[in-house]
């Protein structure tokens, strides 16, 4: 059923967007190559299950492998900041696609086809994605409330001052990268077993920009804003062919509009709206 498909896409897109929100939103480390980790998760899971491995083991395996590479890339964030980190992570994204294209065992340009069905049926698969998305939402909300979220906040605002309060900035950044990339790997594994076919174009620069757009449109660091933006933006290309054809153009216009009119994204728009409504109610 078409609606089930849309919901499934929404759910793993929410996981993917929240995974970047952990790194960029919570900890303030920009990444323009996040699709690489989505890809690492997808390829890891695809290789594992096409080779006869269990789908249920493929999920944690994809998280572990993506998180491992995230840990390594995280070291870049210890050396460079801001725009330099943006360029570095963009390079990581290109490195991933360039590497995959050259590798026979990853299917090269052709990709990996014939990924086995998890064998649980379409609706249970959607429900599985929904449960995992709910768990990632709950985890994000908890992190934000915890002392880790408090420290992330400080690092995102001013990491030099965070150091003078005894915060080990390097370890926090690495933790953000490991958590964020492992969850991207989970989303990638769910994606691979939904489409049953992975190719390198699904994880290129455009995909990295798309997920960054979900975070920015939702409101950097806002859990619910990012959930709404990811749910909406992920199914737009499926609902409207014109959106799919001009995806980059739409994202460009959308990013420009958000940055210009509402830098806080959906999150701040909703808050503004809520203030107006409750203001009118008390006035009336």
């Amino acid at each position: 059923m078409y609606e089930i498909s849309l919901l499934t896409v929404m759910c793993f897109s929410v996981i993917f967007a929240l995974s970047l929100n952990l790194i960029t939103g919570f900890c303030g480390q920009i990444s323009l190559g996040h699709a690489a980790f989505y890809g690492i998760g997808a390829y890891t899971a695809a290789l594992f299950t096409t080779d006869g491995g269990s789908f249920w083991l493929a999920l944690p395996l994809a998280m572990a492998v993506a998180g491992f590479f995230g840990f390594i890339v995280g070291f870049a964030s210890l050396r460079v900041r801001h725009d330099f980190l943006a360029i570095t992570t963009m390079g990581v994204g290109f490195l991933f696609t360039g590497f995959v294209r050259q590798q026979e065992f990853l299917g090269g340009e052709e990709g990996i086809a014939g990924i086995p069905d998890p064998g649980i049926g379409q609706i249970p698969y959607m429900l599985l994605c929904a449960v995992l998305a709910a768990a990632v939402i709950a985890f994000s909300l908890y992190v934000k409330r915890s002392w880790m979220g408090h420290a992330f906040d400080a690092i995102a605002t001013d990491e030099d001052t965070a150091r003078t309060l005894g915060i080990d900035v390097a370890r926090y950044k690495l933790t953000a990268f490991v958590f964020g990339t492992a969850l991207a790997g989970l989303a990638g594994a769910l994606f691979a077993h939904y489409v049953k076919f992975v190719e390198v174009e699904s994880f290129d620069f455009i995909e990295s920009i798309s997920v960054l757009a979900m975070v920015i449109v939702g409101g950097i660091g806002s859990v619910w804003g990012v959930v709404v933006a990811a749910a909406f933006l992920s199914v737009m290309p499926l609902l409207l062919q014109v959106f799919a054809d001009f995806k980059l153009l739409f994202y460009g216009v959308l990013l420009f509009a958000v940055m210009y009119f509402a830098p806080g994204g959906i999150d701040s728009l909703m808050r503004m709206l809520w203030r107006r409504i409750s203001g009118r109610r008390t006035a009336g």
Partner: protein, 260 residues
């Protein structure tokens, strides 16, 4: 008295400029030491070298028996340094009480996984409120930094340093931007803290407050130490008088404090 903080031969060069040349002094446990000197003498650079925000080319810094000059800033803070910076750097998205509570949670934030395991901020908030009250700005607890005047932000900065329960409290011009009443009140608070056992290093342009509260002075000029000892004796030294009157910064510093 044993030295709690012992600085020996610290040299810092920025490009071709010698910011500090073989400066050394001792901060005994329980001291309230004033680090003074004309503008550009190297006072702030000295504090930044102690906290690790500047890496000295040479020298040794020993805190409570541990050599800290090669450690990153957060480790030095963990070992007992607390810094209140001259240029206030509050976290803009956090209220005054949240700024201080973050510092008060240092035991929880020291390790990311321990930080993840803890969510309650109640105890730290209460401690933060008590510290804001101590520095006289309890009324600003729920305000964001953008809503507060400089005199308040300076005290948020001091409260944040105090929240770290430091063995040595480093204060870089905490009184600048405060009016005369606020300045003498905050200076009294510093004296109280010192009486209760906190060792304090105070950089201050407000010489009248320095002479009033400090029992020991170290004077820097042009990156070199030119005085070290009892305040009255140090200020009587012709070399110190020369540095001050020659640079004419005592007047400008006082004038600025009076204007603020």
């Amino acid at each position: 008295m044993d030295a709690l903080l012992s600085i020996t031969g610290v040299t810092v060069r920025f490009g071709g400029v010698d910011a500090l040349t073989e400066v050394g002094f001792e901060v005994p446990e329980g001291a309230l030491l004033g680090l003074i000197g004309p503008n550009g003498a190297g006072k702030t650079t000295m504090l930044r070298a102690v906290t690790g925000m500047v890496r000295p080319q040479a020298g040794s810094i020993v805190l409570d028996g541990a050599e800290i000059s090669r450690l990153p800033t957060h480790r030095r803070v963990g070992l007992g340094l607390g810094l209140s910076q001259q240029i206030v750097r509050p976290f803009a998205g956090m209220t005054a009480v949240e700024n201080v509570a973050l510092a008060a949670g240092y035991a929880k934030t020291a390790d990311p996984l321990r930080a993840l395991a803890a969510a309650s901020r109640q105890a730290e908030r209460e401690r933060a409120l008590a510290l804001l009250d101590l520095v006289g700005i309890a009324d600003a607890a729920e305000s964001l930094p953008a809503e507060l005047p400089l005199g308040y932000l300076k005290r948020v900065e001091v409260a944040r340093a105090l929240a770290l329960d430091p063995k040595v409290l480093l204060l870089d011009e905490p009184l600048a931007g405060l009016n005369t009443n606020e300045a003498s009140r905050l200076a009294d608070t510093v004296v109280d803290l010192n009486r209760q056992g906190t060792t304090v290093v105070l950089i201050e342009h407000n010489l009248s407050e320095v002479m009033r509260v400090c029992r020991h002075l170290v004077v820097l000029d042009n990156g070199r130490k030119i005085g070290d000892g009892d305040p009255a004796e140090v200020m009587a030294d012709p070399a110190v008088r020369d540095a001050y009157l020659g640079a004419g910064s005592e007047g400008s510093g006082e004038a600025r404090d009076a204007a603020a």
